[in-house]
Amino acid sequence: MSPPLAFTLNGAPATIDAEETLLDALRERLGATEVKAGCAIGRCGACTVLLDGAAVNACLLSGWQVAGRAITTIAGLAALPVGETLAAAMEEENAFQCGYCAPGMMMSLAGLLAARPLPDDARIAEALEGNLCRCTGYHSILRGARTARDRLKDLP
């Protein structure tokens, strides 16, 4: 077996085996259970994290793809420039119900809102196409995301 590979998890050093999926490493070994497991085949987005700032499914990544790179989970949201604006807007809108999809939804949106120009409504919806939610019917999540986008627009 090859030696563990180094990467950063929310800014802190961490290791992963080449063949291990990032989702398994996070939930089973590294205690990062804020990342949720919903399907393990890339179809629900509950495990969405940022890979060097871009939203991806942790269940589709193996150690060899993560080596030397920066992973940000929902636990690292507050440290992102858009994190607080996004979180506050989602809270006010009561975006979620059971909340299990939230860590993934939030990271898809965090990745999206970091890009410029800011996304239009259609692009917000598209960014969430890989994130399933069974409780809300999505509209509350879209409302919260649009509010966050509008507030980011107003920032200097």
Binding site: K36, Q97, C98, E129, L132, G137
Partner: protein, 1009 residues
């Protein structure tokens, strides 16, 4: 599996020649693995070696599909938008999708006459696909002037293609001068259509015969059948898409149906943050959920905690001859293996009948049956141990069909036979009723085996605690779970603590026991904590599902549209065990006439055991299945009578004060007429602006949903409220499953006590700390919260004020509770005496849920009312329904917490939309076709309506003492018939099978032409 990174292309080619598989983004091999294909042993990472970037129409093979999607490569960028989802497109590369030799980009590339640059030199893509030699390094596309692209899948968002059609063509003087057509995607082999292309060349577009062109295309396409769609459908859709792209579709005339006359609007509360203003509050659970700090019970980790796994049945129906766990037990790292031999008590559970084994002893009845369970030091060891358990089976004949299950001589799943239960009612003179009918409609409505699809699958942890056990797993009634576990474990209830909240969604699917027996047995045997979290695949296989129904309904009305007779024959699939399915059937039959008066009626419903998974409670609980049938029947009669859909319902509505359907006494407040008034005024009756290849229609459906468990089961609640530690602490055994129970407690207590929401803390979902408030099911939670608060808060307030009065030396009537404490009359904003300065006080209550006097069967007493409107667009290319608008207007008394109420409406509507359009789990040989979320298609963000609106008509009758109704099931109740009626508004025919087969809708479109 091993992965190595190639340093050079030559290095990569050498390893590939030695048998390694090249991988770039790595998504394709994972999709293959998810589909059950073997995972390659050796992967060689070539991602860094592939050129990236797009220069005009030349694209580096390492370019990711998300980059491609936002470029403006003709045809290809549009096609890339339909591949997977952005988070996956970011990983997937163009070279990878070509190397995979499947997927919906290939027809687009073929229509673009793509040329690939490879390590073996340049070649046309079509050649490379036939004979893949060398690695693809770049792709050059050669678009013609105009492009055609259409992907048709099983839903709108992220899913594999049923078929994708692509075209690129040029025109000169109205004639086609060059054309390339291609199909592919999913199970369809990527291919150009050279014969059709040749036929089209030189032809004038204006006079092209669409039917002849379509027939040519269909004849040339090679497409397979699959379990979801026929080959014929695939060919037809691709032909329609290409014809539409080349010449457009022929105009279609819409039948004009009468529209309702507007009526005066009743009082309505618009449910939204902006309209709600000071009634809109942030739910107290939002910060933790939004920020990911809420630990679910499947997230709990601790030093020394073992990992559990469950061995499921190897056959859907078999006798167990022997179970040998020796090898598993001796595997290093295994700490406990349990089988039926380890069940000390009753090896059976079930809310109504105890017919489901905790761990099967002598027989398995469905593929999700638990046979054994293992606890080991990690998941890998536990899984290896499962594979070492030897179970000898003797397969038994399968019972796959519910009708066949009830036929004489059918193999019996249980000792008493396959008929679980039978319900019927007969009133009036059916024959005379039909004889006097001016119009009679009859159809057979078929509904799907819907999966709850909670995002957090069944799971949690358990640990020995004192002389007993603590079991923490998502549930909907901890006290009942404890009672069932006590029977299985042969332990007194007071030695078992069950924690059921928080959980990541339930919808009825965590009402029955799930993993708790296995968890508890493992923890007690291993004597250490054990965690267990079902994979999605295991949850799909083992979890409870909605009972499929087949409902034959014959309904007659007189010339004025008044119902005169109705006959209902229903058959429902219970699956292998009963759970709450008998209650589901009973509830369905209780709704057999909808909210209408029918004097002559006969109903008969049967529930059958089969080897098709296992069924039970699911939001709506049979009422939504039956509403589908009755609400379509009444719409059909309206069409025959020339009445608008509101008017025919008005003529048949139950009257306030009348007994319920079963003749039972019901609570006051009937708001159906008001619901129709709101529906008549809806803006959705105007035709929507739709795309050129769509038709639109509008439909409505009424529903009413009983609250509570009904007359027969025990239905009681305890509720307690305390002042302690400066907080108002509320104790209830209800569960927070996402619906906003806790927010509703905050809202109700703050309003009754006049304290702040921030003063309140709710202790819930834990038999160790909270009283039994009954189940969090059957739309009863909202009522229990309201009544619990109503019966405790005034007493607590009085005690607080008396205590404050003594402390302050002021009369109690000059004091009042304010946010943070007690204030003396004339005080400013801050409390004169903070809650923290007061000694503890408490008030508690125990009450029975309001019930009817009817004891001959199970009947509901209090109801909530709703009307749902749908406006749809139906694709003339694919028959797919796009729901543009959903509106729900409700009457359920006062809205306790606006955000929670709105959430129940929107979520219920969309869960119903899934039931109606995309969700099903057909079974073959006792095995579900769905394996995971790749083959079970819940709505994505792209599948939901563009607009949703929810309102509440809040007043109850002045004499109604029963307070707010629960609304957890109201939202899902009438979506299916509202959409079906909207489809019929557009097409003149009603789909009677849900999810609506697009192939049927295409046939209806063709008939409407």
């Amino acid at each position: 599996m091993s992965v190595t990174r190639a340093a050079t292309l030559d290095d990569a080619l050498a390893r590939i020649a030695a048998g390694a598989r090249p991988v770039a983004g790595g998504t394709a091999f994972r999709l293959d693995a998810a589909a059950g294909k073997p995972v390659p042993a050796d992967l060689v990472d070539i991602g860094a070696l592939l050129p990236k970037g797009i220069a005009k129409n030349r694209i580096g093979a390492g370019t990711d599909l998300e980059t491609l999607r936002w470029e403006s490569v003709p045809l290809l960028s549009a096609a890339a938008a339909d591949v997977a989802a952005p988070n996956i497109r970011r990983l997937a590369t163009l070279g990878g999708t070509i190397g995979w030799r499947a997927g919906c980009l290939l027809p687009a590339l073929l229509a673009l006459d793509a040329q690939v640059g490879t390590t073996h030199g340049p070649r046309p893509l079509a050649d490379w696909l036939a004979r893949p030699e060398g690695l693809v390094l770049s792709v050059t596309v050669l678009p013609l002037a105009r492009q055609i692209w259409r992907k048709t899948g099983l839903r709108a968002g992220f899913c594999p293609s049923i078929i994708a059609a692509a075209g690129s063509f040029s025109m000169e003087d109205g004639r086609i001068t060059a054309v390339r057509l291609a199909v592919g995607g999913g199970a369809v082999a990527p291919a150009r259509l050279p014969e059709t292309e040749g036929w089209l060349l030189g032809r004038p577009l204006a006079t092209l015969d669409r039917a002849a062109l379509g027939a040519r295309i269909e004849a040339e396409i090679a497409a397979p059948d699959c379990a979801f769609r026929s080959a014929r459908y695939r060919r037809r859709v691709a032909a329609n898409a290409l014809v539409a792209g080349l010449v457009g579709l022929a105009p279609l005339r819409r039948p004009a149906r009468p529209r309702p006359a507007p009526a005066p609007l009743p009082d309505l509360t618009e449910l939204s943050r902006t309209a709600g203003e000071d009634r809109w509050h942030m739910r107290e659970d939002m910060p933790a959920k939004v920020r990911g700090t809420l630990a679910y019970m499947t997230d709990v980790r601790a030093e020394g905690m073992l990992v559990g796994r469950i061995l499921r049945a190897a056959h859907p129906h078999a006798e167990i001859l022997a179970i040998d766990t020796t090898a598993a037990e001796t595997l290093p790292g295994v700490r406990a293996v349990v089988t039926h031999r380890d069940v000390p008590g009753l090896n059976a559970f079930g809310i109504l009948l105890q017919d489901q084994p905790a761990l099967c002893a002598d027989r398995v009845r469905y593929l999700g049956d638990a046979v054994a369970a293992v606890a080991a030091i990690d998941a890998e060891t536990a899984e290896r141990a499962l594979s070492l358990i030897r179970v000898d089976y003797r397969p038994l004949p399968l019972v796959e069909d519910m009708e066949a299950a009830l036929a004489p001589g059918a193999p019996a799943l249980h000792a008493a036979g396959n008929l679980v239960t039978e319900v019927g009612l007969s009133r009036g003179d059916l024959a005379a009723g039909f004889a006097g009918a001016a119009h009679v409609v009859e159809d057979t409505y078929v509904t799907p085996r819907q999966m709850h699809g909670f995002m957090e699958t069944e799971g949690g942890w358990a640990a020995p605690e004192g002389e007993g056990v603590i079991v923490c797993a998502g549930g909907q009634h901890g006290a009942r779970d404890r009672m069932q576990l006590a029977r299985i474990l042969a332990l007194p209830e007071d030695r078992i603590r069950v924690v059921t909240s928080p959980t990541g969604g339930a919808f009825g699917g965590k009402d029955e026991l799930t993993v708790q027996p296995a968890l508890a047995l493992l923890a007690l045997k291993a004597r250490v904590p054990v965690r267990l979290h079902l994979s999605r695949a295991e949850s799909v296989l083992a979890g409870t599902k909605r009972n499929p129904f087949v409902i034959r309904m014959r309904t007659g009305c007189d010339a004025e549209g008044r119902l005169v007779a109705q006959e209902v024959e229903a058959l429902a699939d219970s699956g292998a065990y009963a759970s709450l399915s008998p209650g589901v059937l009973e509830t369905a039959m209780e709704h057999a006439a909808g909210p209408y008066r029918v004097e002559n009626i006969r109903t008969h419903g049967r529930l059958a055991y089969t080897n098709n998974g296992t069924g039970g409670a699911f939001r709506g609980f049979g009422a939504n299945q039956m509403s589908y049938a009755i609400e379509c029947q009444i719409d059909r009669l309206a069409a025959l009578c020339g009445l608008d859909p509101v008017e025919i319902r008005r003529r048949n509505l139950r009257r306030a004060g009348e007994p319920g359907f079963l003749g039972q006494k019901v609570a006051p407040t009937e708001k159906l007429s008001e619901m129709l008034d709101v529906a008549a005024a809806s803006t959705l009756w105007a035709p929507a602006a739709v795309r050129a290849d769509e038709v639109t229609g509008t439909g409505i459906a009424l529903n009413y949903q009983g609250n509570g468990l009904g007359t027969i089961p025990t239905d009681e609640a305890r509720f307690e409220i305390r002042l302690e530690g400066g907080r108002i602490r509320v104790f209830t055994g209800l569960d927070e499953i996402g619906q906003g129970m806790v927010a509703s407690v905050h809202a109700a207590v703050a309003e009754r006590l006049h304290c702040a929401r921030a003063d309140i803390e709710v202790i819930f979902g834990d038999t160790g700390t909270a009283p039994d408030s009954g189940s969090t099911t059957a739309s009863r939670g909202g009522y229990v919260v309201w009544r619990g608060v109503e019966e405790t808060a005034p007493a607590l307030a009085e005690k607080i004020l008396v205590q404050a009065s003594l402390r302050l030396g002021l009369p109690a009537d000059r004091l009042r509770i304010v946010p943070g404490g007690v204030q003396a009359e004339g005080g400013n904003h801050s409390p004169t005496l903070a809650f923290s300065a007061l000694a503890p006080e408490r008030a508690e209550t125990f009450f029975a849920f309001p019930k009817s006097d009817y004891r001959a069967g199970n009947a509901r007493f209090i109801f909530a009312y709703g009307v749902t409107l749908a406006r749809v667009a139906i694709s003339r290319v694919s028959g797919a329904v796009r729901v543009l608008d959903l509106e729900i207007h409700t009457a359920a008394g006062k809205v306790i917490d606006m955000a929670s109420y709105l959430g129940q409406m929107e979520g219920g509507l969309v869960q119903g939309l899934g039931f109606t359009l995309t969700e099903d789990m057909p079974m073959t040989g006792g095995r579900p076709l769905a394996r995971n979320f790749d083959s079970y298609l819940m709505p994505t963000v792209r599948d939901v309506p563009e607009r949703m609106r929810a309102t509440a008509h809040e007043p109850l009758d002045p004499a109604d003492p029963f307070g707010p109704r629960g609304v957890g099931e109201l939202g899902i109740g009438a979506v299916t018939p509202a959409i079906a009626n909207a489809v019929a508004d557009a097409l003149g025919a009603w789909p009677a099978t849900a999810p609506f087969p697009p192939e049927t809708l295409l046939a209806m479109l063709e008939a409407a032409r």
